[in-house]
Each structure stands twice: as structure tokens, then as C-alpha cells.
Amino acid sequence: MKVTTLELKPNKAVLKIENTKPYFVNSLRRIMLSELPKLAIEDVIIYDNTTPLFDEIIAHRLGMIPLPTDLKLLTFRDQCTCKGKGCPNCTVRYTLSKEGEGVVYSGDLQPEEKSWAIKEDKIPIVELTKDQRLILEVEAILGRGKDHAKWQAVQAPAYKYYPIIEIDHKKCDLCKKCIEECPKNILEIKNKKLSVKDIEKCTLCRTCMDVCEKNAITVRGDENKFIFRFETDGSLTAKEALLESASILEKKYEELGKLLKKLK
């Protein structure tokens, strides 16, 4: 197997994975969706709320905020030494108190320790008019995407076969129909020959195949080569999310291996 990064930003990654099969890339994708832990607000204690939104709606909106997660510092609450009571090892607390005119933003949530300050601080929670008040306290815990979507750190993980576009230059009469029809505009004529500009942009839609009267163009996917892409919501960086997912997958296989050895 060979992996190349095509793009790596804090919140987004595009990888090229070679010499593997769909089941492997898909298992990584599914780990990212449902097993990767992340911090999110779970309990909301509302002291006063005179805003136009219901308590439950505010609580739900708070739950969706991405919180910066350091997986080395935190444990799951049910596996914690405090036995589910909520100690600094498994719980992060924030308080919010705002009154009078203005918008309540996610950045108004004050953390107990500065290192947990919310990076995505411009998410509107609710708008207050004069004399309206919102006072609350929240507890954030680690969770997994399979329990609730708010604990899903990775957005839109997806893979596709690496495209192969074959052009038969003997049949091609340079009619330019395929160039016009291609939704991604990746075909061009270079040195009086039809050629592909950026093959990685191809979505394997085969519109060019359908439109070509001479059958000069064929599009197929390489079944051993993939383009894998995903985004994160900012609670983990793309790199952290990928490495953590890979180690979760590794642990799962190790566990399976141990169990299989016990069988006779």
C-alpha cells in the first residue's frame, strides 16, 4: 500500500491510496464516522432563559458547537476513575451569562481553563432584545459518532476510484463535444490531440463517453487506487483525526487477532 497526500489543510485532507481494496478504505471511513471520539456538550443546566427560543432548542444548538479536543488529556466518563460523577479528567465545564441587546455567540461560553476556549467563536446561539437574559452552565464530555451526530468529528468522508480516461486518438475526430459536456471541464485539445487536464477532478460520470459518437473515449475507475477525502469540524485537525482513526482500526484488528488465537 502507498499513501500520498494531495491536500492537507487543518480542516481538510485529500489522500491518494494505492494498492488496496474498497473494503479497507471503507473501514477507515466508517471508523471516522462512528468510532472517533470527540468532545461535545452533553448536559446543560439552565438558570434563566427569557429568550424567544425554548430551553431545549438552545441546549441542542449548544451541543452542535465544535469544541477543541485533546484526546491525550481526556477519558470517557463511564471509564473514568470518578465513576461517572464528572471530574476534570472526563468533563469540561463552561458557563454562559449574557443580558440585554445583542447576539449570544459560541465564544461567550467561558471555559474553566483557558486551554479549552472555543475556537469557532462566532456561531450565533440566540439573539437577545432589551431585558432578555440567558444564564446557563454546560458540561462537555467525550463521545462517539455512533451515539449522536454531535460527537462526529469528521464530515463527509468519501472515496472514489482513481479515474482512468483512455482516448483512442485514431478514432477521435476532435469534434469538441466532450469538452463542452464535461461538467468538471477537465478535457482540452493540446497539440491537436484531445488530452486530460486534471484527471483527479474526474467524477467518473461518463458524460463524455455518452456524447462521443466515435466511441473514442472510455472512462473507468482503477479498482486498486483511491482518492479519499474528508473534512473535520475543527475539534480535531485532519491529521489528528486520520492518525487516531488508524490507531482505533489497528486496535480493533489486534483484539480480533487475540480472540482468534484462543479458538481451537
Binding site: P52, F54, I123, P124, E127, T129, A156, E231, D233, G234
Partner: protein, 92 residues
């Protein structure tokens, strides 16, 4: 009178969940909450330019691309949102 009618109609559709821009995209989960205010500001500029008969600095398509919304699920969250929270503001 016309304004009154329009408000009545809009109140009819207004459900509490959708009065303020949702935090995340319903379909993919991308955080879109903070983008709405900026989109609105830049859209108003575009609208002003079009109404004045000038060439706008950027089209709504370019604004959405610039905000980093590449999937159409996130784009529709911003485009189709109607901010109604202020209408309900006097009620607790």
C-alpha cells in the same frame, strides 16, 4: 398594510427551530452558523450594486465559493434561510 400581510404570511411558515441559522448543515454536518452573517452582508452589497445598475464586485456564487461551501447541501442552508428570530423576539 402590505407589510402587515407579508409578516402574517411569514409567521405562518416560521417554526421555532428555523428562526435562527442552524449551527450545522443538516446533511453533512459542516459548521455553517458563523458564515450566514458574512454572506448576508456581502449579498446586500451585491444587491445594492445590481439595483444601482453597476457591475457587482462578486456574485452570490462567488461569495459561497469564497466562504468554502463546496457541497450543495451546505449552500442551500445559507441561500434558503429566512431569519425570523426578531419577529418572535418580544415573546419569551
Amino acid at each position: 398594510m402590505e407589510e402587515e400581510l407579508e409578516r402574517k404570511d411569514r409567521n405562518h411558515i416560521g417554526e421555532k427551530e428555523n428562526m435562527i441559522i442552524p449551527v450545522r448543515c443538516f446533511t453533512c454536518g459542516k459548521v455553517i452558523g458563523p458564515l450566514y452573517e458574512e454572506y448576508k452582508k456581502r449579498y446586500e452589497e451585491y444587491k445594492k450594486a445590481v439595483e444601482a445598475g453597476e457591475k457587482p464586485k462578486e456574485t452570490p456564487k462567488q461569495i459561497l465559493d469564497d466562504l468554502g461551501l463546496e457541497r450543495y447541501c451546505c449552500r442551500r442552508m445559507i441561500i434558503s434561510h429566512v431569519d425570523l428570530l426578531r419577529e418572535a423576539a418580544p415573546y419569551e
